[in-house]
């Protein structure tokens, strides 16, 4: 058994602790903020895209809705008639949210698809539908059908697994459950892109987190509208995953 002088040990550790505290205080006092660090912080917070956007315009939004609904018409062509009413109600609610978001962040509504703009509405409805169907089929191919099962799983499994597990526990076929869940994720992305093409969605997400924006605007309200939109898109994608 060792004989230990606890008092002495305590004194020594107290001296050591004080020395460390003094050194820390000295370092804190003399700490100069690195200029590069400061600049990098400022650059991180700077809003470079702030002047790229044009203000919201009601008439442009009307044109956008007309075209977006034609995309939906194509996606919903195989929808079971029993869900018809629910889906259309949900779609109306979703586009109310989309309008609210565009108005809130005050950016010009964009239309999804390369070379697609409101002027195509001057053509016959068949021509417009055909053109939009080509765009949508191409998007579905690139994001889902042209991918191998492995590629799909790799790309979407993280997001798709929770829903797939739930479906499997409800005694659905595992393979079908996973495919359906992946399709749901794919459609969530597509529908969000249709509503907010280009960098618009990134802009919306940026503003929900921007410190400067939150100082002046009702950021919490924007967050709520965006969350509501995401829920609506999630529900819509579940209906659509069964149709495409």
């Amino acid at each position: 058994m060792f004989l230990v002088d606890f008092q002495k040990e305590k004194d020594v550790s107290e001296i050591a602790r004080q020395a460390l505290l003094n050194e820390k205080a000295y370092n804190d006092q003399n700490k100069s903020v690195d200029l590069l660090f400061e600049v990098s912080q400022k650059m991180k917070n700077a809003d470079y895209a702030k002047n790229l956007y044009q203000p919201y315009d009601d008439s442009i939004f009307e044109g956008k809705v007309a075209i977006d609904l034609l995309y939906y018409k194509h996606l919903l062509r195989n929808l079971d008639e029993t869900y018809y009413k629910d889906v259309h109600e949900l779609l109306a609610q979703t586009y109310r949210s989309v309008k609210e978001i565009y108005e809130f962040v005050n950016i010009k509504p964009e239309i999804f698809g390369k070379d697609i703009n409101a002027t195509i509405l001057e053509n016959s409805i068949e021509d417009v539908s055909n053109k939009l169907n080509v765009v949508m089929n191409e998007v579905l191919d690139n994001t889902f059908y042209n991918l191998t099962p492995d590629q799909r799983s790799k790309k979407y499994s993280d997001r798709a697994l929770p829903l797939a597990k739930k479906l499997i526990t409800e005694h659905n076929d595992p393979e079908e459950s996973l495919q359906y869940s992946i399709k749901t994720c794919v459609l969530e992305d597509i529908l969000t892109k249709v509503a907010f093409p280009g960098s618009n969605w990134l802009r919306v997400k940026h503003l929900t987190e921007s410190e400067d924006f939150g100082l002046i605007f009702d950021q919490q309200k924007l967050v709520e509208i965006v969350e509501n939109f995401e829920k609506q898109i999630n529900r819509l994608s579940k209906y659509l995953a069964a149709c495409v």
Binding site: K50, N51, Y53, N106, I216, F217, D218
Partner: protein, 408 residues
Amino acid sequence: MSAIKKYYEDKVVPQLQDKQKETQIYTELAKMVSAAYTSNMASDESFCFKFNIPLTGVNNFYKILNLNPVEVGLNFKADWGNILTAMHKDSYYQILLLLVYHGIIQKKDAFAKNALMVLMLKIWNGRKSHFFKFCDKRVMKYVIGHMLTNRHHSSKFENPVTLLKDHFVPTILEKYGPEIKNDPAKLKRLFEQTFARVVQIFAQNKRTNLQTGKPEAQGGLLPLYMKARAEGLYISPPNVRTGEDEERPGFEEYATTHNRDEIVSKTTDFIVMNQISYPASLISDINRKTNVSAKIIEQILAALHNHSYFDIIQNLIILILSRCNITSVGDICKAEFSANIQKNVISSKNNDEANKIQRLIDVLLTKIFDDKLQIKFDNYSVVHKIKIRNVIIFGLEHNLFRVNCRGN
């Protein structure tokens, strides 16, 4: 002892011994003169010009000095006698005469000059409206440029403000100052002579027309103007179209400017001289329309009520009324006023006036953001600045309605 002198010594001097109050009044007077000068220099209405009268600002002198307008009026009456016109009894003139007296007694030349200048603004407007109910600036320009002889004061000065400030104010004070120093009751003489000199600009040497039996002025701007008008003589300004919906100024337009002047003057004075609380319903309505947080809306609107923003607010109101084609108070009190603002101010783009409104609001917001919110207004994107600007426009709309339709 003169009642005015006694009242001045008992009530006014103790207040003005407080140097802060004296400086405040001097600064306000200087601002009023400066605003009159700037607006007249910017205008091309020649001698048709009407000033924005700082009624609220002048009225506020009573508050600053803790004076009762009724008491002041009684003392003037005691010195000046019973037979007085509405002008003699006007509290606007009386407080300014007291300040002129203060400037003369204390040998504060600039103080007396500014007070007399502000007093003359109202006399000018009154006489101008009396002699020229509808004043065509094109005809007036012809009169000034081609019909006046060198003897006429108007020929030596470019516009009313320089005539009043550089000629009438110093000569009147030089002539009547010494006798007022001895007897303040002589303020009445100064006041009446001021009135008479302004009248002479417009009409003098009245004689009865033997054909009509009515007195007619032989000299001054009025007979020359009537002659030029009868002969169809005028100088047409270069007609440069700069805005999308600018039209050639019509004759009736000049009638509306008088109403607008009053609305602008009353509303601006009210905004910069008063701190008001905005109703919660308005704040929530602006919040709904702009998505700017209610707390920030309250701070921005509260910050508007500051005299240092006088010029900006005045110009904004002038531009808003012009964009909305407001010709009378009735137009502001109509239910369509809001829709009018929405269409012609908020949604209007790419025209001179809308661009000016935007620039002025940006200057105002930059100051408010720096001073009150400690945030850089320039941190915000173009599209967000639009929303923040609308807070100011809605605030001004509310004040226009409040002042002109609800009487504050």
